[in-house]
């Protein structure tokens, strides 16, 4: 009986200290960071004030990323890719990297398939937006949320 009590007490003490460690806030300091506003501004700079519709674009990016230094990303657009109806360009933006652009890709009717793959860096968990400009001038977009556990871009050089 006595021994059992001791075990319970020890257990509680351990649990308490574990909780205390868990309660220490993790503070990360970032000197430079884009914000959703700078992303919106960057989008306006690249595509102007034309309305952007949701759809047609598919943004493939892992929802949970362990290492933000190299994140595979595939953007594809539903388009017949004929000489009269094709994707002119694909622009990808982020919210929280030091700068808001992830890439601009310029295609043409000869592409056959409107799909681009690359690897990007992500400095934080954030929203990624891909916007496609079609040959008729319309703009289509897709957005994906990514959770990043190890951030890229601003880490110290050792």
């Amino acid at each position: 009986m006595r021994e059992q009590k001791a075990t319970r007490r020890r257990f509680l003490r351990l649990a308490g200290s574990a909780a205390a460690i868990g309660a220490i806030p993790i503070v990360s300091v970032r000197p430079v960071e884009a914000t959703p506003e700078t992303m919106a501004n960057a989008i306006r700079t690249v595509i102007g004030n034309a309305p952007v519709q949701t759809g047609k674009v598919k943004l493939d990016i892992p929802p949970l990323v362990e290492n933000g230094n190299s994140v595979p990303m595939v953007v594809s657009v539903a388009s017949p890719m004929t000489s009269t109806d094709y994707v002119k360009s694909i622009h990808v933006f982020n919210e929280k990297n030091p700068q808001p652009n992830l890439g601009n890709f310029f295609l043409g009717p000869r592409a056959g398939r409107a799909q681009v793959s690359t690897r990007v860096r992500l400095a934080d968990s954030q929203k990624i937006t891909a916007i496609a400009r079609l040959s008729d001038g319309s703009l289509w977009s897709a957005t994906a949320e990514v959770v990043v556990t190890l951030a890229a871009c601003t880490e110290e050089v050792i």
Binding site: N101, G103, R110, A114, Q115, V116, R119, V120, A152
Partner: protein, 106 residues
């Protein structure tokens, strides 16, 4: 010595949609990193990539510090005729590399 890796099918049927994969070895230093003494490491990235198919530009990309080191880019094109793909990477500090690949279209 060229630091590029290119993957283009050697042969294709006329009208086939083929995938082109490219990888260029480059540090892609963002310009946002500091050394332990607090100095900023200057930016050194590739800023643009282009691919020409028998002289005609079929794909172009603007790259940013957010592109991962050793930029990998893959895209598609329709195999229209036998010939050559020319690839070009341009970047900071006068960086300029080219590579090419040929294809036989039947």
């Amino acid at each position: 010595m060229t630091a590029a890796l290119i993957n283009v099918p050697k042969k294709a049927k006329r009208g086939d949609i083929i995938e082109i994969k490219t990888l260029m070895s480059h540090i892609m230093e963002t310009g946002y990193r500091h050394t332990t003494s607090g100095q900023i490491v200057p930016r050194d990235i590739i800023t643009s990539f282009a691919c020409r198919y028998n002289g005609e530009e079929i794909f172009r990309a603007d790259l940013f510090p957010a592109t991962a080191a050793n930029p990998f880019i893959s895209f598609f094109t329709v195999a229209t005729e036998s010939g050559k793909f020319d690839f070009e990477w341009i970047g900071d500090n006068g960086f300029s590399e080219t590579a090419s690949a040929s294809i036989t279209v039947e």
